[in-house]
Structure formats: structure tokens, C-alpha cells
């Protein structure tokens, strides 16, 4: 049994708690203890990527302080783990804080994206999930190219009973989110999203999944605007789902409007 500190990410905490709750249920079902360090807020990626490394510094410091005591940190987000691994030490060094940079590298080395943790650390691909839907998987850019999670999520999905996995055409193309990019370059972002949605719809899947709530929010927001009838569901929710405890199927993860 392992003691796992959940790095929930600000987006999942605030807007997509079901992904985080699913992560907790999944890890507990696999026999591990999950703790939630309450001092955590945001990893600071938004600040770094928008050009505010100075403001991000206090968030990096907080993150490092909050997670330093834990042996294993797991987040249901490739993007936020990417920030911890590839940005935190840089931000600290940029501010001349070599000690913080070293501690940040330390925490980063113990921080895992969910599929990495399951496959590499726990050594499981069949997590005993059941999810009777037609699903396509979008490998988000940061999971794919920053973390190189490779086919780990697909191996996990292939082992889910009842799940009909369909390949997403041009899967490796960015969905167009990019955080601040979607705001500052909304038109280009929309053009990229349009192609991503076209490919998702071409699969005739009813669920599009990924390891990042941010990209799912983007894709799901677009699909919802089209009233496309395709839901976006976080990978953790699918893996947490069992015959006994199905995911909240009727309530879409994203894109609900009134």
C-alpha cells in the first residue's frame, strides 16, 4: 500500500471535481491511501505561460512547500505535472533562488501524472474498470510531448471491460486550447478546435476522453456549443467506473449549458 498525495490542480478542484473524486476512488479501490494536502492551490502554470514568472514564484514556493513532505504525488493532469517538472525549477532559478529550484526538482521527481503512476509505479494496466461506451482518446500535447506518456492511457483503456475504443484521426494535433492562447488568439484557437471536433465526430464515439481537464473543457465546450451529442469525460472517471459504481453517466463532465 502506498500513501499518495493528491495534487488536484486548480481547474479540477474548481470546475471538474468529478475527475479528482474519480482519482481518489480509483486509487483507494486499488488499495492505496490518498491524502489531500489542503494548502495546495495552483501550480502557477497559467502565470508562467502568460508571461508572469514573478507572480508565479510564490505559487511555486507554495506548491513545493505543500508537497515536499510526501513520497508520491499524483495529479489527474499531464499539463500540470508538466509544469511541475519542466517549469518550477526554471522559475525558481530565474528568480535566483537555487535552493528552491533544487527542492522543486526533488518534488518534481516524485510527481506523476495518473497514467504514469498506474502503469509505471503500480505496474497495473487492468484497473478493473467497466465502462460500456464507445470512446475515443485525445492524447493532449503536454501528456504526449512534455511527459511522453506514450500509449499508457491507451493500454489502460484497452483493459476496461465493455469499452469500445476507437482511434481518433490526427490524434496528435493540438486541440487549440493552450491556456492563454485560447484567450489571446481566440480565432486561431477556434480554427484548431474545429478540426479536432471534426475528427472526434468522425469516430462516432459518444465519449471523448483525455488526461487533462483543460483540453477536455475546450473540446467539450466546443462540442456542447454544436449540440454535438458527444460527451467529454476525464480518463480518471472511466478508470474509476465499475459495474458496482458507474461514473455519473447522465451528467456531462463539461459543456452543460442552460
Amino acid at each position: 500500500m502506498m500513501r499518495v498525495a493528491l495534487f488536484v490542480t486548480c481547474l479540477a478542484d474548481t470546475l471538474f471535481p468529478q475527475a479528482a473524486i474519480a482519482t481518489v476512488r480509483l486509487l483507494e479501490r486499488l488499495g492505496h491511501e490518498v491524502v489531500f494536502p489542503e494548502g495546495q492551490t495552483c501550480c502557477g502554470q497559467m502565470h508562467v505561460n502568460t508571461g508572469y514568472p514573478g507572480d508565479a514564484l510564490r505559487l511555486v514556493r507554495r506548491h513545493v512547500r505543500v508537497f515536499a513532505p510526501y513520497d508520491v504525488v499524483v495529479a489527474p493532469s499531464g499539463s500540470c505535472v508538466g509544469s511541475v517538472r519542466h517549469q518550477h525549477a526554471t522559475v525558481a532559478r530565474g528568480a535566483g533562488d537555487e535552493r528552491l529550484a533544487g527542492r522543486a526538482e526533488d518534488v518534481a521527481a516524485r510527481t506523476y501524472e495518473l497514467s504514469e503512476f498506474l502503469v509505471d509505479v503500480l505496474g497495473v494496466t487492468d484497473v478493473g474498470a467497466y465502462y460500456p461506451h464507445r470512446v475515443t482518446y485525445h492524447p493532449t500535447c503536454h501528456s504526449l510531448r512534455m511527459l511522453r506518456v506514450g500509449d499508457r492511457p491507451l493500454r489502460l483503456l484497452r483493459a476496461v471491460r465493455g469499452l469500445d475504443l476507437v482511434e481518433l484521426p490526427q490524434a496528435e494535433q493540438c486541440c487549440g486550447f493552450g491556456g492563454t492562447f485560447a484567450v489571446k488568439n481566440a480565432d486561431t484557437s477556434t480554427a484548431m478546435l474545429a478540426d479536432k471536433m471534426r475528427h472526434v465526430l468522425a469516430t462516432r464515439a459518444d465519449v471523448c476522453t483525455a488526461g487533462d481537464a483543460s483540453c477536455l473543457m475546450h473540446i467539450g465546450g466546443g462540442l456542447s456549443r454544436l449540440r454535438a451529442g458527444v460527451r467529454t469525460v476525464h480518463l480518471a472517471e472511466i478508470l474509476a467506473s465499475t459495474e458496482a459504481g458507474p461514473a455519473d453517466a447522465p451528467a456531462p463532465t463539461t459543456g452543460g449549458t442552460r
Binding site: V8, V48, G176, M192, M217, R258
Partner: protein, 476 residues
């Protein structure tokens, strides 16, 4: 005359050349996005080249080793740049060439213009070169009464179409075959009116059009892909043979080269001559590569001038993070894989250097304030970093430059406030609850206030959940 001070790395001066656009990227991109023909041409061309490049890279068993060596050679080069340039100068001079130094575009244009004037020629032929576009050499030559003739097919299409280049390798990538045919019919003197839009027919028309120019022009201007410090050898990599014409037939050859193009040793060529063609045109080897060292009696130009250009490169070198943008070998692979470039095309970037490399190089050459929107013209998807044959970490440089960009005051205030809130968990939890309250209080469904409204214009915001995760955890 620009005033330069010893020891102060300087950015490229404004008012000359083509490193600065006239409008911010989002505005220019918006127009490009609505051009259906452009979108189609770019989508088709970039998909074609991506496929070809992937196929020939797949044939090379040691591609990762070559990339790593390319990066290592370039890193070493930048660390010793002044010494290598002095070594290059000595080797070129010993081989019968003349070396000139240009601190910026103004100086470079003057040097070239004076050299052409000294020959008495009123026309020069040009091999496609990014650096002469960067400094606006054609405009400077025309102002001096000298006619520059572009001999690369794509450059010819751009020149005849009175257009601007939109890609490093294929400046006319935004044009399809039928548009090119129309440009030729309109602007190419004596063209066969029965010209079809078959690429082979279009290429043949260019051959006929330029033949006499090649045979009768006495001065040529080229760029350089590589310059070997150890031997003084220059290399130009090309396809059509127009490069060979310009490098071989005239009496005088003037090569303008950014100072970052130097490489230390002859042997280093074995790395770049493998990386460049496969990453660039997706060929195992491009049809022609010319290498020459100074002047060869009885063969080729008997006068050779090499112009070494700074024009902002020293400022790039001064930034230890941004410096690696100088490693670029201009293959254009990062453009071809970029989802933003593929949809907006090159003109949207304003500068002659478009795409991901342009988004990091142009702001550094001019100073970030003069190209402030470019570091944001990326979703940071990382495809460029994976494709780059010399492993330039473009996403990290983009993020780094965003930190130097001037920020709108309202945004800066909001970001500072957000950081403060997020550094205080109680305030943060209250703000989380406010998200839900705010949405309940009226911004229901679709809306967010500007500038976030840009995001919600085409996407729905998710419904705020009944409970945040931390509320759920506390109650569990």
C-alpha cells in the same frame, strides 16, 4: 548611420528590412483564417511535406544521434562565436575572398550596393536567401538603380506577383498551381499563352524566362547555409540549379551571411548535410549542394565577397535562454508541423521569419516590445520542438519571451491579484465559491467578461459544479 557602441549587444534597427509587422498577430491571423483558398493551399502543402519528411527520416537509423550532435555543434559554435568568425575571416581571405562586417541592415545594404556599383553592373541575380529579405536588400538595390532578379522559383512567383514570402523554404507556399499560372501569364514577359498549370510546365516556363539572365548577369548575391571556420568553405543547399548558376557564372559573387551560420569544422558538415534535406524538403539529399572556398582560378567568380551580418544577433546571443534560436538551420520543419502556422500562414507573423522559429527569433532580433504579440502566437503544443533537427526548445523560449513582453496593465493587475489569492488558501476557497455564485448571479451559460470572452465566443463554459473538490473532501 547607426551609432554602435563597443560591448553593447544591439537589436536590429527599425525602419529598414522586414522583421516587424504592421499589426499584431491576432489581427493578421483573423484575416488569414477566413481566406478559404489560403487555408486549403497551406493545409495541402504542409500535410504533403510532413508525410515526405517523416518517411525519409524514418530511413535513417541514427537520426536521434544526428540531432543531438547538431545541437552540440551549434551550442559549441555560439560559445565561441567571435573566435570562429575571426578564424573564418582568415581562411576566406587566405583563399582569395574579401570579408566585410555589417553591424546592421543599413550597413549591409550599403556594403552590397557599393560592391555592385564598383562593378558597373545595373542588375544582380539572387539566390533565395532569408537574410537578404531580412535586411530589405532588394529595396536598397532598387533605390540605387540596381535591378535585383530573384531566381528561385518561389521567390520569382513572389516577385512577379508583387507579393510577400510566407514560408522559409517555399516562399510561395500560399499559392497553388492555378494561381501561379495566372501570375506567370500576367507578369512574365513573353510567356507562352497556352501555359498549363502542370507543375512541370510552370517550372519549364521559369527555366526559359531566366536562362538569358543567368548567362548575361555579371554579379550575383547569395546567402549561405553553412560556413566552415576551419577551411573558409561556404555551402549553399538548393534544388533547382539557380543557385549553381548564380554561384558559378558571374564574375562577382557577394554572399551575405548571418554570423550564426558559421560552423567550426569541415567534419561538422557531415551532420548538417544529413539533417537539413530530410527535415526540410523531405528529400534524402537535395538535388544540388555547392561548396566553394574563396576563389578558384579558372572556375567560377574571380571576385568573392563575404558580408558577415549582426543585425540583432548579438542581442540574441546575450540571452542564455533565447540564444538557442541562433542554432536554427532554416529547414522550416517547425513551420510545417505547427498547427498555428498551418492555419494562419506566414504573412500573419509580419516578419520574414514566420512560424514557431519566427515567433522566437523575430522578437529577439528586434527587441520583444517591437514584436510583442509573437511569443503568444503558439498553443505551446511542442510539435516544433519534436520536429526541429537541431532540437531547439522553441516552447521554452516562447514562455521565456512572454516574461519579457510588455503586459497590458489590467492583465498585469489581474494576474498579480490571482497569484495573491492563490497564495492564500482561504481567499482561494472563497474565490472558488464566487465562481459558482457569479455564474448563478447572471453570467449563466455562455458568457465571460472580456478578454476571456474571446474564449467563450465559440465554446460553452462548463456548468460550475455543486461542490468544489475540496468541499467534497472536507465533507467526506
Amino acid at each position: 548611420m547607426t551609432r554602435s557602441f563597443l560591448g553593447m549587444p544591439a537589436t536590429a534597427p527599425p525602419g529598414v528590412g522586414h522583421l516587424r509587422g504592421t499589426e499584431p498577430f491576432p489581427a493578421a491571423a483573423r484575416r488569414a483564417l477566413s481566406d478559404a483558398q489560403l487555408r486549403r493551399n497551406l493545409g495541402h502543402a504542409t500535410a504533403t511535406i510532413r508525410g515526405r519528411s517523416a518517411a525519409v527520416i524514418g530511413e535513417v537509423p541514427d537520426w536521434p544521434g544526428l540531432r543531438a550532435a547538431g545541437r552540440a555543434i551549434k551550442t559549441d559554435t555560439m560559445a565561441r562565436l567571435p573566435e570562429l568568425l575571426e578564424q573564418l575571416e582568415a581562411a576566406v581571405t587566405a583563399a582569395g575572398g574579401t570579408v566585410h562586417w555589417a553591424a546592421d541592415a543599413v550597413q549591409a545594404n550599403r556594403i552590397v550596393t557599393d560592391l555592385v556599383r564598383a562593378t558597373g553592373a545595373d542588375r544582380v541575380m539572387k539566390v533565395k536567401s532569408m537574410v537578404t529579405q531580412e535586411i530589405g536588400l532588394n529595396e536598397a538595390l532598387e533605390a540605387a538603380g540596381i535591378e535585383p532578379v530573384e531566381t528561385d522559383l518561389a521567390e520569382l512567383i513572389v516577385q512577379l506577383g508583387d507579393d510577400r514570402p510566407s514560408h522559409i523554404l517555399v516562399p510561395a507556399i500560399h499559392r497553388n498551381r492555378s494561381e501561379i499560372r495566372e501570375i506567370f501569364l500576367r507578369a512574365m514577359p513573353g510567356v507562352d499563352r497556352a501555359l498549363t498549370d502542370e507543375p512541370a510546365a510552370l517550372a519549364a516556363a521559369a527555366r526559359r524566362h531566366l536562362r538569358q539572365t543567368f548567362l548575361s548577369t555579371r554579379v550575383a548575391v547569395s546567402g549561405a547555409n553553412f560556413a566552415v571556420a576551419e577551411t573558409g568553405t561556404l555551402a549553399v543547399v538548393e534544388s533547382e540549379g539557380n543557385g549553381r548558376m548564380c554561384l558559378t557564372l558571374p564574375e562577382t559573387l557577394i554572399t551575405v551571411m548571418g554570423i550564426e551560420k558559421v560552423i567550426p569544422t569541415w567534419r561538422d558538415l557531415e551532420v548538417f548535410l544529413q539533417l537539413l534535406p530530410r527535415a526540410s524538403t523531405g528529400e534524402r539529399m537535395n538535388p544540388y549542394t555547392s561548396m566553394w572556398t574563396g576563389v578558384t582560378p579558372g572556375d567560377g567568380p574571380q571576385a568573392f565577397h563575404l558580408v558577415l551580418l549582426d543585425n540583432g544577433r548579438s542581442a540574441v546571443l546575450a540571452d542564455p535562454v533565447g540564444r538557442q534560436a541562433l542554432h536554427c538551420i532554416r529547414c522550416s520543419a517547425c513551420l510545417n508541423v505547427c498547427p498555428v502556422y498551418e492555419r494562419t500562414g506566414g504573412h500573419a507573423y509580419g516578419s520574414v521569419y514566420p512560424g514557431p522559429i519566427g515567433a522566437v527569433l523575430s522578437p529577439q532580433l528586434t527587441g520583444v516590445a517591437d514584436n510583442a504579440s509573437l511569443p503568444y502566437a503558439s498553443s505551446l503544443c511542442g510539435a516544433c520542438y519534436d520536429a526541429c533537427p537541431v532540437m531547439i526548445d522553441i516552447p521554452s523560449i516562447l514562455v521565456h519571451l512572454r516574461g519579457q513582453a510588455p503586459h497590458p496593465r489590467a492583465e498585469a493587475t489581474a494576474m498579480a491579484a490571482a497569484a495573491y489569492t492563490m497564495d492564500h488558501p482561504a481567499l482561494y476557497a472563497a474565490a472558488q465559491r464566487a465562481v459558482r455564485l457569479g455564474r448563478l448571479a447572471g453570467r449563466r451559460g455562455r458568457g465571460l467578461p472580456p478578454p476571456l470572452s474571446g474564449w467563450t465566443a465559440s465554446r460553452d463554459l462548463p456548468e460550475p459544479p455543486r461542490q468544489t473538490f475540496r468541499q467534497w473532501w472536507a465533507e467526506r
